[in-house]
């Protein structure tokens, strides 16, 4: 059994929901987790109650529940994306400095973020395209990237133009250095770190086919 075949776990690329389901399954029971705006938010749909995951939202809450609907909507209860959410039993509220102390003090087990680019050594670029006319906005991205014990990225592997977002070195302005530990994409799950990139599994392609798309050396992760 070659490593190329043994790590392909799906015969086609994963859709956003399948990828969210995979991330959700990879989160250890009892973890405290922050899900970034956008694609990472989908992960909450696939967390099982028996995992006992506590969701943090940086605008001042632990124990965030699903998106609010109908009569549940309360303008004073929103997530970091400013979307009305609900409160689970055992929730708590705190002010912004206390909320970011949770992130910055290294207390979150995992944050899941979107990205423009991730480098082979885990540098993250997800807040600024660097375009000269762009109005920058950073929010809590740098605090999450630097503070969480593990930073998972969810993104498509390729841009619309077919260029790999997993790169040797980020060309976009950085969010954090060496912070990303895993990259979940439609085509593969990558483990990043100081020793380079390992591929945990591929979806709809072999390791060799994946390597053809990505400009950094890939190795199959040791199981």
């Amino acid at each position: 059994m070659s490593s190329a075949t043994s790590i392909q776990t799906s015969d086609k690329p994963l859709g956003r929901d399948d990828l969210a389901r995979l991330v959700a399954r990879d989160i250890s029971p009892g973890s405290f987790v922050n899900l970034g705006i956008g694609q990472p938010t989908l992960v909450s749909n696939y967390l099982e109650p028996e995992q006992n995951i506590t969701l943090h939202t940086e605008n001042g809450m632990l124990g965030m529940g699903p998106e609010a609907t109908g009569d549940q909507i309360d303008g004073d209860l929103i997530n970091a994306g400013k979307i009305p959410v609900t409160e689970l039993p055992g929730a708590s509220y705190f002010h912004h400095a206390d909320s970011f102390a949770i992130m910055r003090g290294g207390h979150l087990d995992i944050c899941v973020l979107g990205a423009f680019q991730v480098s082979a050594t885990g540098d993250l670029a997800n807040w600024h395209t660097g375009a000269p006319d762009a109005i920058p906005a950073v929010g809590g991205a740098m605090d999450l990237a630097t503070g969480a014990k593990d930073v998972f990225v969810m993104m498509t592997l390729l841009t619309r133009e077919g260029v790999s977002k997993l790169v040797e070195s980020c060309s976009y302005p950085l969010t954090g250095i060496g912070c990303v530990t895993r990259v979940y994409t439609d085509k593969a799950v990558f483990l990043t770190g100081p020793d380079g990139v390992q591929v945990r599994e591929t979806f709809g392609c072999s390791l060799e086919e994946l390597q053809a798309l990505v400009p950094v050396p890939l190795a199959a992760a040791s199981a």
């Binding site: 939202t57 940086e58 605008n59 001042g60 809450m61 309360d74 303008g75 004073d76 209860l77 929103i78 997530n79 400013k82 409160e87 509220y93 705190f94 002010h95 912004h96 400095a97 909320s99 970011f100 102390a101 992130m103 910055r104 600024h128 006319d133 762009a134 109005i135 920058p136 906005a137 950073v138 929010g139 809590g140 991205a141 740098m142 605090d143 630097t146 503070g147 302005p173 950085l174 969010t175 954090g176 250095i177």
Partner: protein
């Protein structure tokens, strides 16, 4: 010294041109809309505004910006789908922006209230938001030196005040209120309800009255 005032106009009457004004809220939660409208009406200009965002839509802070009353924004997330007034002023070079990671914003505001002259944080190290800042290797990580953000005035929304100015908030509307109340020389608070002294449980007070100067009840 604590004052209970009858109108938002009285509450903001002392705000001077050139002031640094902190405004609570994250999105609409905890935004003191009535106080912002009163600030609009009172005419104070040349303001530095500290807020998480830089105004949304055609109301509140966005209007202040549109009318040219804000010379500088200190915030973490100015660009939003409906931040068109800020966007226009910024592109025209008519407003200054100090972009701050949200945790640094919160911690710098907290530092001002707590008498901390500056602190080192890993957030932002190696990024363009730390360019030109002092760095130091501490606790096994490169860290960036950040300084407190003080303000002349804070505009805050809380849920309930008692007769001593103690405050409680509601859900995620708490956000920046408590730290801004401590960081500003003069804190102006709009509340939904005022209860007699003793009407709030001492165990659950979030902002002690020592941080509060003016309280106005809004409908």
């Amino acid at each position: 010294m604590l004052n209970f005032v009858d109108t938002v106009g009285e509450a903001v009457a002392g705000i001077q041109d050139g002031s640094t004004v902190m405004i609570g809220g994250f999105g609409n939660a905890g935004q003191p809309f009535e106080l912002i409208d009163a600030l609009m009406d009172c005419g104070a200009t040349d303001l530095t505004v500290v807020n998480n965002n830089a105004g949304q839509g055609d109301q509140g802070l966005a209007l202040l910006i549109k009318e040219g009353r804000v010379k500088k924004m200190i915030c973490s997330f100015p660009r939003q789908s409906d931040s068109w007034h800020f966007d226009a002023k910024f592109r025209a070079g008519e407003i200054e922006l100090e972009l701050v990671p949200q945790g640094n914003l919160a911690e710098r505001i907290r530092a001002a209230g707590a008498g901390i002259g500056g602190f080192f944080t890993p957030t932002g190290y190696g990024t363009m938001l730390a360019e030109g800042k002092e760095t130091r290797f501490l606790d096994g990580k490169w860290q960036v030196f950040e300084t407190p953000i003080h303000a002349d005035v804070a505009l805050i929304k809380a849920l309930t005040a008692d007769g001593k100015g103690n405050l409680v908030y509601r859900k995620t509307a708490r956000n920046f209120g408590p730290i801004m109340a401590a960081a500003a020389k003069h804190s102006i608070v709009q509340v939904s309800e005022i209860v007699p002294t003793g009407g709030l449980d001492p165990e659950v007070i979030v902002t002690p009255g020592i941080y509060v100067n003016s309280i106005v009840k809004v409908a």
